[in-house]
Symmetry: C3
Subunit: 204 residues, 3 copies
Amino acid sequence: MDFYFVLDILGTISFAISGVLVALRMRLDPFGVFIIAFVTAVGGGTLRDMLIGNTPVGWLTDSVYIFTIMASVTFAILFREKLRYLAKSLFLFDTIGIGLYTLVGIEKGLTAGLIPIMCIALGTMTACFGGVIRDILCNEIPVIFRKEIYATACIAGGSLYFLARLTPLAEPYCYILGILAVIGIRLWAVRFKVSLPSLYNEKA
Amino acid sequence: MDFYFVLDILGTISFAISGVLVALRMRLDPFGVFIIAFVTAVGGGTLRDMLIGNTPVGWLTDSVYIFTIMASVTFAILFREKLRYLAKSLFLFDTIGIGLYTLVGIEKGLTAGLIPIMCIALGTMTACFGGVIRDILCNEIPVIFRKEIYATACIAGGSLYFLARLTPLAEPYCYILGILAVIGIRLWAVRFKVSLPSLYNEKA
Amino acid sequence: MDFYFVLDILGTISFAISGVLVALRMRLDPFGVFIIAFVTAVGGGTLRDMLIGNTPVGWLTDSVYIFTIMASVTFAILFREKLRYLAKSLFLFDTIGIGLYTLVGIEKGLTAGLIPIMCIALGTMTACFGGVIRDILCNEIPVIFRKEIYATACIAGGSLYFLARLTPLAEPYCYILGILAVIGIRLWAVRFKVSLPSLYNEKA
């Protein structure tokens, strides 16, 4: 359990910081910044827990999440000038977050006895939902509808994890492979401006 | 159970296609189209299952929903030119969807031991919530707040179902009556531009 | 139980009326007004019940809520001219609502065996979520992101309640103290235009 727990906390930190960065750009007050960071970090896991009936949801019973978010927000606010100058930091924290949360969600799905395709759907939702709520609350175009590959990276990385489990590779390595696949695919897609084929005649 | 299952699948297909039509109008990429179709088709049932504590929610445990949606999306994308030229097809699929889902929701409410008024509320939410999320994500005015009669049709059809159950009419006929009532009331309201009375002085 | 039940009903009435006032300002039809009032009144408690796994959620099993909302909506629509002329009535009903719901949420958290900090988080969500959904559906800036102190008042009042419980003060008085603290802090903050310190250089 320890191993999965560490992933979960790392994902929480990444998403909390990505939430702070969006909230600062909107010039919210300190409490608004905390709310956005909190929603971004726990939104996906909360939806996941409600969907599979894992209640009270995770962050309510384990106070480590709320304290992790508080610490991350304090850190991110204190060093906001530094984080802001790194133009790509929001993108980076968000990408690490979806990588970690995809696999955390898959693990919870397996524990709930779901079949692989549902685990992947659950992992993708865990990864994407926090960012979607963050963007709806902040009035930005939800991240999954922008041109870049986003949820598709979660699905691909999740599928790769299930493929790796068919090999003799030890479980934790399959996990790490899955996480790196999600992160790598998204980095690669953004770097080379890869997007899904269009359904529309460009001239239309 | 077979009978209700068929209704549920038909509702899923109708809503998935209505989601594709909205997503195509927004020129989303193929994955975005699938997401909108998925959310429209499972949104109402997911909320219903979470409200009554029927977890893991339906689509997670029964993979027929996700495959039905995939097939419907593929079909709707392949024949999108045909569907698009039918100016009224979105309206039609959406209307069939709310008719079917209202009664599916009522049936789940009865199974959970709820009283009729709560079953009707649950059925109305099952029917309307997917379309509301679709419209919020796509930045359209949510369907229930437009001028036409929408949720009111679900409530009326649901009430008619409970009235029919007081007669000697066999259960499945009551269901079909309820479904047709929802569809009929909405078609009639849109055809004759019927709307609820205004609360405001028109000159104001 | 009676005492907490009365608080819950009073909160339901306050939020239902605040919903009607926002919906009337948007010139919705009678059904739209009811929907907004309903969502505002039950939204926070529904989220709370889903988070702690208290399902079927409260309003589905106890019909007093739905009838209370119907009665409040009818009353508020009939006397809308009077309510509208009271420029501050929306603010007042909303503030009473968050005061009551914060403590109702805390009580449910205690019943579910949660620790104080989680009870306060749950109470704050119970209080704020209905208003946030109301504002998202009505396309207003969500109430928690406006300049005035809002969720902060819930957190402060909730903390005061737990402090009061450490004294010999009888339980119901602690409750009433907590409710009045939330309401008082918000009234005071709005009256004197108190807001949280800014994170930004004003000249920037």
